[in-house]
Amino acid sequence: MPSSPEQQMPAGNGPRAFTQGYKTWNRKLHFYLGLYFLFFIWLFALTGLLLNHSWAFTEFWPNRKVATVERQIKAPADGTALDEARDVMRQLGIAGEIQWLTTQPGDSGRLEFRATKPGLQFDIKADLKLGRATVQRTEVNAWGVMRALHTFTGVRMNDAKNQRDWMLTTIWALSMDAVALGLAVLVISGLIMWWGLAGKRALGLVALGCGILVCGWFVVGLRWIGV
């Protein structure tokens, strides 16, 4: 089915042609952004469902595989606790986001931290003086991987101790930002397209108004009425 005449690229110059061109590109943007982000949107939508429901078939923690090994390591060069942890991980062949659990930086001689990536978790206890590291590797199934992808940002609210320190976490976090901005643009471009359809404004206002009322009730209304 071809595009309708009013949706095709305009010829000529002037404000009317500009408006028409703007509408056409707005519509294309809506299509193209939606298609580009399709798989990201599906992932975050479906994993959002998984997080909100404890369906038995999506269980992953009871089915985890745990293995512990002990390895020799060389004492890392002097540096921050993060530098030392990275050095130990490099020696052990482990990649991932570092999560500080109990180690107090500056506690020379011992280094305890967790390295994570979606589906894998390494709990590392290194004795730098003895040159020995115990690594507990925990692997979860595909459901666990999917859930982790939804929340894998490398940071947590009210936890200044942990900052993003793995390049792939940063890229993934940026892709989450991009999906969020993409969704916002999809909404705005959709609103512009709808407003251009004079015959659908009234019913559209009802649908949009209902959405704003219901959503607004939760975002600001509940606090106002003091539920």
Binding site: A45, M176, A207
Partner: protein, 208 residues
């Protein structure tokens, strides 16, 4: 027939999209806050007050899980504090409980003393941004046995699910509306393939 189906799907895509757009914006904006671990305007100081002569059920200290939360709700009605109870933390030796109660945009912590039948209530407004973050994370995977203990959270759980299902419908109907437009297919396929490659590549790099 095909034309009328196209028109029907296009209309449904439009109206469902319009209804859903505020929800999508709430989830999208809160992603930015969550990813950067930053919530603007959530640092308001807490206001405190005390309540005395509370009627506390005799078996309150022995209750667990849902039953304990239900009893806590009845108790909090006396203060009155309403909202979603996050958890009930018990300090048996001190005969004391700490109960955080939330509604989107505000947070109340009730410190209940069973011995003196009194409570210290600290409330603070956390703001619209925090309300969006709260809603984004709720009901969530934690404290499953007590989560959804307020009426609004029960409704929000349903709405969060509906957002997912309607978003899936919008994406499927969007694909149909795109496929029908022959002159948009080539660029559309390029964008779809680029998106699939970016997505697949990123997930592979993270997981492999």
């Amino acid at each position: 027939m095909r034309q009328s189906f196209y028109v029907f799907v296009r209309g449904l895509h439009l109206y469902v999209g319009l209804f859903l757009s505020p929800f999508v914006l709430v989830f999208a904006i809160s992603v930015i806050f969550l990813v950067h671990s930053w919530v603007p305007g959530s640092g308001a100081p807490a206001a405190s007050r005390n309540a005395t002569n509370l009627s506390i059920p005799s078996d309150f200290e022995r209750l667990k899980g849902r039953e304990q939360v239900a009893a806590a709700h009845a108790l909090l009605d006396q203060i009155p504090v309403r909202g979603e109870i996050g958890f009930v933390r018990q300090f048996p030796k001190e005969r004391r409980f700490v109960i955080p109660v939330s509604v989107p945009g505000s947070e109340t912590v009730v410190e209940l003393n069973v011995e003196s039948r009194s409570a210290k209530i600290s409330s603070r407004t956390t703001g619209v941004a925090d309300a969006m973050v709260f809603l984004h994370k709720m009901p969530g995977p934690h404290n499953v046995n007590v989560r959804g203990n307020s009426a609004f959270m029960t409704v929000w759980r349903w709405l969060a699910d509906a957002t997912v299902y309607l978003l899936l419908f919008l994406s499927m109907s969007g694909i149909y509306l795109w496929v029908v437009l022959k002159n948009e297919r080539r660029v559309g396929i390029v964008m779809l393939a680029a998106g699939a490659l970016s997505f697949g590549g990123l997930v592979y790099a993270l997981v492999a």
